[in-house]
Symmetry: C2
Subunit: 461 residues, 2 copies
């Protein structure tokens, strides 16, 4: 596929809490996610990922929690279903301190984070990481979160995306338009820190946000963090096609994923962004073994740790749908949900009974590959061919076990096949945007909507 | 003074930007603050402070910038007057990763940070630092900041404190009342993460804030971060007496500082908090030399780097007062300022001309001591005797130079005199609250207003 990245992007999928997507796995004897409050857990993980060949660590956030029929079931607390979950952004500076190459993509909500504070935080992180930060832009579909923040009711689905569009517009004004390149002189001898003619007041009076004044953060390497997005609805896809640089595609069916990948690229082109402007990542779980049978046996043993009621509560939290309250023969993809949530769309054409059985095994996992190193490498190669994705968001069962296995066994094989880059020297410093789009492309390109908010002193003069 | 801490608390005063309180010092050849965007700068500093005997690093924030007569003067950018300044909170995780004992007190505004997000961030940091986090509660007096956040007009001074009272009440509900002690079982064998009966929904419907639901963060070592405050107005002092555990006193006159220290303790007692509930810190700048004359000469050389117009712009930013626009013979302490800012109160009884001359030298510095190590140690001893303060917020000219000098020369002498604790073993892990109030006191005491928001399962039924 034209414009596809030559070597696969490898992203690790994490959350700042005890469970990721398999509710109950926190209790596995080899599971270290229960150490999520311990900084050393994250420092070790960051080192493991960087040394093992990962390009970035993706931090989801789970700001809400399950509510079924107006109450939160006990299983939420007993099995740590999205509860507790700590702030993800604060993990990054510590992990940045012990790595040189690993990127970080962190989830922050346009519905609940003010654009000014959010831009200041990401710009600060872009400085501290030397350009290794990305922002996973989410609009947050859980009404629980608006109750917690005291901003109920949650805006309707499409409105949330309108808000997100304006949030990003203001973010671009601040991050791209506040300071020109070269505005910081930093000349101690001339006693001149910055050139006032090249710092510009931002003025934004929108429907949802306003901001007036100078952005407090001097230009960081990437300015706008690399923009990640996972919108699956029509409105969400349009949003991603407009803004996103990396899009998460969903599902476990190669043909369906291929259609999504093509849709992402076609939409981006319609928004004036050339081929290659957007990278796609699919979720990938790998369980290795001596052979398929052994690997499948290992997979089944992991799956046996999923707690069914916890998984149902998790499904309800993400979708607003109580699987037990539905006709088991109905098409789950056609169920209408409060807040217009779209997570159920992936189950279009599936009965509630079948979708439930699937979710109780795999949660939100996408592709699950089992086999020997050679077999899984073959599968990866075929998947890439069939889907056109640019890389994978690797979703573990065990932390750090699943990553250790992936790095020690699969990555060397993928490297042998030229599917994954050879290790970069620790000294070779690239920004996250360069890792994703190639050396030299640290900033958003001129055809990205952020570019029109850049300002030059000529125009200001 | 009864209840005073036996050994002095040593805090280092920093900001995430090129200038602290001496505008222009960024350009000094030995000044490293220009490396403020570089994580290594902060890691090195944290190690220097911990090894050198400091108890904590205090991070101010400067979310606004100078505006005089409706515009921001060029000197703001040329001399980096509160511009740029990055987010302070994001420095903490990285510095926590390379230290074991150093505490961190970070400024966050009750006017601009939502209580739920703020509580989640500080609780996350309390986990990651293992109980070494403090919160410097500010209400933000700069209208520039409300313009940036799109929430203009800035509420009036006393209203901001009412908002702050409610912000803290909600913070206590979340941090102290959301989860009982022992709510997290973490029993893998029993497959039981938390006890649902010991996690409680928070319900708050106040005048300015509301929040409904479960707090997402499990109990951290200290729960509520150690509360720092610097309110100088009548309303600010009442706020501090109600909530604060560490109060910054202001001024450069020992008798005046003594009155403030006594006022802090008397007010706290009136609020039902026994002697010893609040520690006081005074600002302290130290310049050492072979003798007084040599040290004073070094001091004058530092002061010669202050840029006069930059200092005036800085004064305007903090107070709303343009020193040049005033009658030079007027009493600066009686000038009324927009927004009811109170920074000028410290100049009560001083003419504008004299106050200006002082500010152009010392900015917001408090005590400035010059002399040989023995002389300065004598002065420190006398200051403590005269004022009753529990410690000092050490305000450098050069980073890290001023701290290196302080740690290498003065701290050993203060230790010899029993004024400062002997170094703790790196293994001896204390929370910040224990460092300040003594081993075993990791949580807020029962007589603090936060305590009434704690909940027990008995009460919950």
């Amino acid at each position: 596929m034209a414009g596809r990245r030559v070597s696969l992007l490898l992203s690790a999928f994490e959350i700042n809490g005890p469970n990721l997507t398999s509710q109950g796995l926190w209790a596995h004897p080899e599971q270290d996610t229960v150490r999520y409050t311990d900084l050393d857990h994250w420092l070790d993980l960051a080192r493991t990922l960087e040394e093992g060949g990962f390009d970035l660590l993706f931090l989801a956030d789970s700001p809400g929690y399950p509510v079924l029929g107006g109450t939160t079931p006990d299983v939420t607390f007993e099995q740590a279903v999205e509860m507790p979950t700590n702030d993800p952004l604060l993990l990054v500076p510590a992990m940045a301190a012990v790595t040189r190459r690993l990127g970080f993509a962190v989830t922050a909500s346009t519905t609940f984070e003010g654009p000014y504070s959010n831009a200041r935080r990401f710009a600060t992180l872009d400085h501290l990481t030397r350009g290794r930060i990305g922002w996973n832009v989410v609009t947050t579909s859980s009404a629980v979160v608006s109750d917690l923040h005291g901003t109920a009711p949650l805006p309707a689905h499409d409105i949330r995306y309108d808000v997100a569009d304006e949030h990003l517009e203001l973010s671009y004004r601040l991050l791209e338009g506040g300071w020109e390149d070269g505005a910081v002189v930093g000349d101690k001898q001339a006693r001149r820190y910055a050139d006032p003619r090249r710092v510009h007041e931002v003025h934004h009076d929108g429907r949802w946000f306003s901001s007036h004044g100078y952005f407090k953060v001097e230009p960081s390497p990437q300015r706008t963090p690399v923009l990640f997005q996972a919108g699956a609805s029509e409105r969400g896809r349009e949003f991603a096609a407009t803004h996103a640089e990396v899009v998460f595609v969903q599902g476990r069916d190669a043909a369906g994923v291929r259609r999504q990948v093509q849709d992402v690229h076609a939409r981006a082109e319609r928004h004036g962004r050339p081929r290659g402007s957007v990278r796609t990542l699919a979720g990938l779980t790998v369980v290795l073994g001596r052979d398929r049978a052994h690997a499948r046996d290992r997979l089944e043993r992991y799956l046996s740790w999923v707690h069914d009621d916890a998984a149902r509560a998790y499904f309800a939290s993400m979708t607003g749908v109580d699987l037990r309250a539905l006709d088991q023969r109905a098409d789950l993809g056609t169920v209408s949900t409060e807040g217009g949530r779209t997570q159920v769309e992936r189950y279009r054409g599936e009965t509630v009974a079948r979708a439930t059985a699937d979710f109780l095994r795999f949660g939100m996992r996408e592709f699950v590959l089992t086999g020997s190193v050679t077999e899984v490498a073959d599968d990866v190669e075929r998947l890439v061919e069939e889907t056109g994705v640019d890389g994978f968001n690797v979703t573990p069962f065990l932390v750090p076990g699943s990553y250790v296995e992936f790095c020690a066994e699969l990555v060397p094989e993928l490297r042998r096949r030229g599917l994954v880059d050879q290790p970069r020297a620790r000294e070779e410093s690239l920004t996250l945007r360069e890792v994703i789009f190639g050396a030299g492309r640290t900033r958003l390109p001129a055809d990205h909507p952020a570019a029109r908010f850049r300002r030059s002193s000529r125009e200001a003069g």
